[in-house]
Structure formats: structure tokens, C-alpha cells
Amino acid sequence: MSITVDREKCSGCETCVSACPFTAIEMTMGKAVITEYCQACMACIAACPEGAIKEIPEVQEAQKPQEGKGVWIFAEQREGKVAPVAHELLGAGRILAGQLKTELSAILFGSTQDEAKELVKWGADKVYHCADPIFEKFNDEPYSKLLINLIRDYKPEIVLAGATPIGRSFIPRVAARLRTGLTADCTALEIEKDTGRLMQIRPAFGGNIMATILCPNNRPQIATVRPRVMKKGEYNPDKKGEIISVSAGNLHCRTKVIETVHDTSECRVNLQEADVIVAGGRGLGDAKGFNMLFELAETLNGTVAASRAAVDEGWIQYRHQVGQTGKTVCPKIYIACGISGAVQHLVGMQSSDIIIAINKNPEAPIFNVASYGIAGDLYEIVPMLIKKIKETKGN
């Protein structure tokens, strides 16, 4: 369908211009004009006080969706170990498979038979496992090629993968080749009543708006899912399932991983999987301030992040940066120390379960998104917090 403006009715009030989440409406000679950026989200139709905006349905025969059966999750492994996001995908996939009355399968490339069996205990009815050494290191081409082949052979209805550096890199190739839809970084998945279609809910504009995306006709419906958002599946050591060995066949690979370099900084926990994140900003004043944050993070079994300001100052490496030009995180607890809360930072952390803000300026915008805020000198507050937490844990 497409959206059109009735120029007679349009009063030129510009309400639709501000209502449009895609900046797709412009004023030309006092009237609203829909531009190429339009995504047909229909926000303007609801907003127009004159009822001047309408959708024109495409004249086309009702298309029957392509066939597909079963819910698949891609279980990514790093150095042979299945990543925690796979267990979350099995949790989410189990709910979807239950509603669709279908099977839940996991796909594992590389790793071991034992890890494949673990996926059954985490909820998979079937595991398609390819143990070929080509999957030891991550290369986009063999990963995407084998997944494409499996999808073509078995025709699942839904495929989910983690929105991790691996999933977000190679899954787009799979969707491109299969000519099907892919929704990035979903934070909720639901099955639409009556139609059984997958409603893929994701934040856009850094979480300032949410969008529900559908893939009405093409199958499978593919989504990457943000780590740490979905609840893990139930671990049942007695659960039975089938492990299907898959051969890699002849896979082409034009990239080669020469070396894997692990970060040697104190931050050993990966930001996107951490339960607790202690973040520092310009308010720390210098690089040494991060030592105190590392100590607080250690007391809470967490890890350390930073605002762009702290990274730009050279106090900490870029890979710790949270926000629009860094990472998006959603830990259980996010402790922002000396971070004022520019919108570019907020978009990277505002979906955290609990946000604690410590800042000397009580007017700082970070307090608007905080569950708990303490206005004051962080060099006084943080050491006190470390001490009290240690005391509590000691009891």
C-alpha cells in the first residue's frame, strides 16, 4: 500500500510532519507531501486532524505466504562453547513453537556433540549439528552458505539468531539470498492471532520509538534478537531430543581469520552479556577514576562501560563505549557515574532493568531515566557504595 495526502483537505498544519518517525513528510507550497522515506507506518494518518491522509491499498491478489514449518534458532558458539544468547533464543523459540504447535530446532555449527546435547536439555526438540572444522573460527561465507542450504532443505517458518557481532554480520546474507525479510535486534516476539504471523518488535531511533515489523508473504521470517532480553529456556537434564549430523559439503570461503586477539584489559565480561554494568563519563575527571569503577564492578561481578566523552578523552578503550556510536546494552543494573545523560548515551542503556545515576548536577538528564539517583560527588559516593556492598556481602 502507499500513503497519499488529499491536497484539498490538507490545512498545512504540519502535525503530520512532526508525527512522522521517518522524516518522510515535507511541506511544499503549504501542503504536506509524502517523500521516498515513507515506510507506510501510518502514524500520519492517525495524527492528521483533517483526515486528509489516506492509505491506498495496492491492487493485488491476496498472496498466500510461502510454506514453512517449525521454529529454528541459531546457536552461536565461540571457541566451541555455545553462547548464553542461544539459551535465551530457545526460551523465546519454545513459546513461539508452542503457540504454533510446531517443533523447536537448534542449529549448531562447529563445537561438539556434547554441546549439541546440551541444547536439547535447554529445550530443543532437534539439533542440526555440523562439526566441520571450517566453523571453528567465524567466517561469514561458510556460515551463511550452510544455513541457506539447510533452510532450503527443511523450510522452517521462523529463524531466530542472536543480535551479536556474529548474528548481525552473517544472517543478513541469509535473508538476502533467500529473498525474505529480516528484522534486526528484536526485543519482543509475538504470534499474531488468526494469521499466525510473527510480530517482530524492535526499538528504532535508539529506543525512542518501538516498531512492530511483519514479513507477510516470504518465509522463513527471520529475526535477530537482542541478547539478555528474552528469558532463558528451562534446563531439563532428562529432556530427549534428536541430534542430526549435517555435513558441510563444499563450502567456499574467501576470508580467513589469521588470529583471534582477546582483550587484555581488566574488563573480561562482555558488555552485552553482563548482569551489572558500571559506567563512567566525563564527571570522572581522569583515566584513574576508572580504577574505582572497576573495583565497584568487581564487587558486583559486573563490568565497566563508558560514555563517549570518556572514550574521546582517551581514558578507556572504544569497546567500552555505550550509546549511539558504541554498544547497546540492557543489564539488570546499570550504574552511571559522572554521566550527564546526553540522548546519544541514553539510547544505548535506557532499556536496562534498573538504572542508578550518580552525578553532581541534580539537573542532569540521566536522572530522568534513573530508577535511583544520588546527586553528589562520585568520589565520595562510589567508595562508600563499595564499602557498604562489601559489608552486606560479608554478612
Binding site: F138, D140, R173, R179, T180, G181, T255
Partner: protein, 260 residues
Amino acid sequence: MNIVVCIKQVPDSAEVRINPATNTLIRDGVPTIINPYDMHAVEAGLQIKDLTKGKVTALTMGPPQAEGALREVISMGVDDAVLLSDKAFAGSDTWATAYTLSKAIAKISADIIICGKQAIDGDTAQVGPEIAEFLNIPHIAYIRKIEDVKTNSIRVQRLMDEGYDIVESALPVLLTVVKELNTPRLPSLKGKMAAKKAEIKKFGHQDIGVDEKDTGLKGSPTQVKNIFAPEARTDRKMLHGNIEEQVSQLVEELKRLRCL
């Protein structure tokens, strides 16, 4: 060496404010900028050009005013610019966008294609890898460092969750880059002059051999069903007293929430 850099014009999020009453974006008069990650892609392209005596072409898809973004990167030293603008492209999702861009790149021909890791309006990070698949070439995402460029291969550092990988690829290749890679240069005076005079090539769907059914809303497998404001936080709690009392209350709260 032919280098193509894909860029996108996006609303400047620094100017976007949230209406606290309705929890929606206030976008009145929000200026557009070049997607910040794409600026690092442009810089990377220019550095490879300096190294290999190559040529950099910037490519964008968008409404006619996206020409402004192309002129801006010409002022930084980009040699050539192509604007894909056509009503038929309207409403493209990532599949249709990547397909359309790939057809244009095939027409331009490229040894190295560079994209920002993602655009800050959609945050999908999908278009780059999808272009590579359509062109049937390898890609490497999240590049933090380009170590070496040879006539038919490249060696880069790819950012991963636990560190980074050193990866080699044959050419042609597509790279998506993160901010850490470089600092984009400022426009030169000469560049600004060139930008004013530059002729921007404009392609519609027929120029690049794209059927209308494969682009725009028609060519897009995904549809936006609806858009809504996220739920506002309801867990805000005030702490009282002096700093020490507040810290104690905070620790109590964390205990209550079983976080300790």
C-alpha cells in the same frame, strides 16, 4: 583501485528531543546529517585511495535533497558521486535497499566497498552484508583497523565481543566500519570548490536495471505494522537524607531486589 563508499542522510539525533508528556520524538526542524558511521567509511575510502592511487565514489539512495550529503563528502576528497533517487525506491526495507544499491555498485564496479556499521535511524546493520551477498563477494563487518591493502587482498581487524579478530580477505570485498577506525578529515578549501562544481550522477531504477517489483515498498519483504512509544519507566524511586543515608538506602533496595 576503485572504492565505493555507501552513505546515508539521517536526522541529526543530537537535535532530536523527546516530548516528556507524550514520550514521542520532537522532530520539528531537525536538520539532517550524514550518518556518523558513514563519515568513518568515507575517511577509510580516502585513506585507501591515497595509498593505492585509487578513486573513491560515494553512493547514496534517498530523496533528491540527499545530493547535499554527496557534495559534503566531495568536499572531503571523494572523486565521484552517485545519487539513486526514484519514486520507485520509496519505502524500501533493508532487502530492497541492499538489492538496489548492489545493482548500482555493479554498474560502477568496485574493488572495495565500504559502509558504516549501521545507520543511526534504523540501527539494523543489515544493508552492508546484504549488498555483499547480492554481489556475491565476501564481507567483513565491524572493522576497527585496516592493517594492509594489497592489489588483490586486504587484512583488517574485526571487532568482536571478547576482543578482535585479524581477518584477511580476497578482493573485491565489502567492509563495514566502526568509529574507532579513524578520525574523518575536514573539508579542504579545494574540496569545497570541487563540491560546488561537481556533477552528481543521478540514477533511477531503469538506469541500474532494477525492476519496480524488486525495489521500494513492493520489493520489501518486511512491513512496518505499527509504531508506538515505549513504555515509560515506572520504577523511579527517590532516596532521602544525606549522602551516606542515600547510599545505605540504595544498598537496601539492591538487597530487596535480590541484586546483592
